[in-house]
Symmetry: C2
Subunit: 469 residues, 2 copies
Amino acid sequence: MADKQSTKPPSGTRDFLPGDVRRREYVIDVVRRVYERYGFEPLETPAFENIDTLLGKYGEEGNKLIFKILKRGEHEGTGEADLALRYDLTVPLARVVAQYQNELPKFFKRYQIQPVWRADRPARGRFREFYQCDIDSMGSTSPIVDVEILSAVSEVLVTLGFDDFTIRLNHRQLLAALLESVGVSAAGQSDTLVALDKLDKTGPDAVIKDLESRGFDHEKASRCVNMFASDAIRTTTRLPSPSVFAAANMSQLSRLHQDVPEASSILDEVQAILDMSADTQAAGHVLLSRSLARGLSYYTGAIMEVGVEGIGSLGGGGRYDNLIGMFLGRDVPACGFSLGLERIIVVMTERNMFKDALSLGSADVLVTMWPDADDAIRRDALALASELRAVDLRVDVYPEPDKLGKQLRYASDRDVQFAVIVGGDERAKKAVTIKDLVASSQETVARESAPQFIRERVDAGQRTKNPEP
Amino acid sequence: MADKQSTKPPSGTRDFLPGDVRRREYVIDVVRRVYERYGFEPLETPAFENIDTLLGKYGEEGNKLIFKILKRGEHEGTGEADLALRYDLTVPLARVVAQYQNELPKFFKRYQIQPVWRADRPARGRFREFYQCDIDSMGSTSPIVDVEILSAVSEVLVTLGFDDFTIRLNHRQLLAALLESVGVSAAGQSDTLVALDKLDKTGPDAVIKDLESRGFDHEKASRCVNMFASDAIRTTTRLPSPSVFAAANMSQLSRLHQDVPEASSILDEVQAILDMSADTQAAGHVLLSRSLARGLSYYTGAIMEVGVEGIGSLGGGGRYDNLIGMFLGRDVPACGFSLGLERIIVVMTERNMFKDALSLGSADVLVTMWPDADDAIRRDALALASELRAVDLRVDVYPEPDKLGKQLRYASDRDVQFAVIVGGDERAKKAVTIKDLVASSQETVARESAPQFIRERVDAGQRTKNPEP
């Protein structure tokens, strides 16, 4: 029956073996708990959408990266697609807000942690199936909303053990005013931002060349680059102390007041976000950064991006007050943030940030099977397993009548700390022998006290691995 | 910007609003915890597979129901598909076992809780995107494996609050022997089983007609039906007591020994499963049922299906000792079970089995915003929210300077029990006023004790809703 077909997962996707899933679940659980603490509620949408829902929402590049699903049945032969895999979580949210407008509260705050699919060329750290962890807050233009989002994202990262992250903050209308001030009209701003977005990566000279190729003369291109290449702090450098951050923000604000005095009301809004953040979990992490552009075209106000020293972006977001209107027919103010699960896990793995408890074995206890067990003995082993599970131990039962040594090696190889043996002697005395394969010790205890005996030792081990802070 | 495009989810799929997600997460969490307790480990695979991995694995009918994904880029125009959405969790598992054979333990026990997609015609309770909760145990032919699976599935259902479920048990080789005994040769058995599988639904006369249309003479068709229409208990009738079950199993076993004496070694295996189950969570739930056939062709041994009175199947499974070999090139014995999340949720909803705690509001507390708040007051509200979140309360902050009455109504409408008010008086006294919107009471407490004050009341409320058993 065997054929030669590949058993690898499709290009750009991954299988997650038990250890992988446990790490992912740990991170997702932290994200979920923090988002709940901020009053966000869970939403889930289908993996695919009607194709018209997605096409045209992500620009020409995006359209090409959407996975499209063939029509079924007699239409399959036409090669036409009527469905497409979710490309992000924001467009489905906009559809949901339109569809359920009468059931949703005025200020709808939702989180959504689900995979999205993009037919990008796979590369290190870039996948075709990856999870986004989104929060979005709809219905209010208040900067409190933006601050709550900055705080929630910060609390997620702090809870996961990050302390060296920076959230760069900028504002789309401020960018527009800055570009205007160096002579870039509204029509040319979008292209210019695409070029300027690469400033950190390629350096000023390359960006000037890029702008020249887009029709700027050298002087205008230089003015542009100088206007944006002036962040006091770059996230690629070592992370400064909170007071250095605060001073940098102050100085950036006053320079912006000089550079674009006509944008003072926007600067007031930005200052309010910075000031209010100081009393939240985002304190000491938010850095006003005039060069932050963010790729997506739908942002209309504050924009944000979180990065970790030497790693780059872990996620980003901002205010988009018009997108919901594409489905709803009337605009709804909104602000959101998307954390990328895969990047977070890559960094946490590299930095060894996962707790020891996550490297737990496949079970807490192995109930061994007495070699040449008859039916009664097998039944007894299963009953014992039930008793151990009743105190919430994770219990495996060895299924085959192999030699005891082989069974114990199996437990040991699988990082199962305890093995329980019930031989003829033990059975006669209503006792069990418990082997601790880590301590290489063993003890025979009354059968009825075995569950508690092991439970206490497992709990003690977990306390050692994860001491209270 | 508004256009007329539909904002409904695609046909056969659903959006899950917050209450829906919470109920789903509750069930998934129970399933996960029980499976872990049985030593199963989590696995996740990509949403799509290379199309060749799936085609030909589910029969001709299945091939038609697979969602196929168009090639991308220049190949899009060809209308060819190279990927396909996961149709079940078993074939991806078989691929994973082949791919990672050197990393996986000898007895690989995995659970997988993920959506699958089938282009079935949508109907009440039948969706195109639905979750399966699978456990599979590989590497051993011991009936202990089958019993552990019966026990784990039973423990899931008991933990969720079901007590009236029946797991029908049969054996593929027993079915073969029974069919042989009424003159159906191996070649015709597959078709015959398809017809007999409808016995419960359409009754004996319809099945006899069906068999006649497949070329059986009337007498042979009747013999077939009589041979299978003789289960002592039907799950569609009221659920009997465990002792009635045990008696029914005994009588069924002895009749089978009479009907197919040549199958005695298989009957011994079945009896071992029944006997051992009596010492597990499956006790009193397993019913030997000679008419159970199960649709899928890959089963080779014990087959099982769990049903609830008046509802029908919640899931099923069995032993398939050859499927893994399709990818691996050598056979690996395996036994698995798949619970359907959607059916479980439908029944639990109809029966009002979700705990009150799941109908919780969107947050525990609303921090109100003092009308005409200045920056300092807004900062103070955010700081208070942080303090409340530090004791793990779910805290919403009202973002707009609306009238207080409107803010309180908002909290009340959203089932948020507590609202915190910090007015000028309170601020001067370093106090906060806490309104209990359920009890219609209010109390002013020192600001520093507010978090604990609310935390205790929320905990007390949860204890009332969910008393310890």
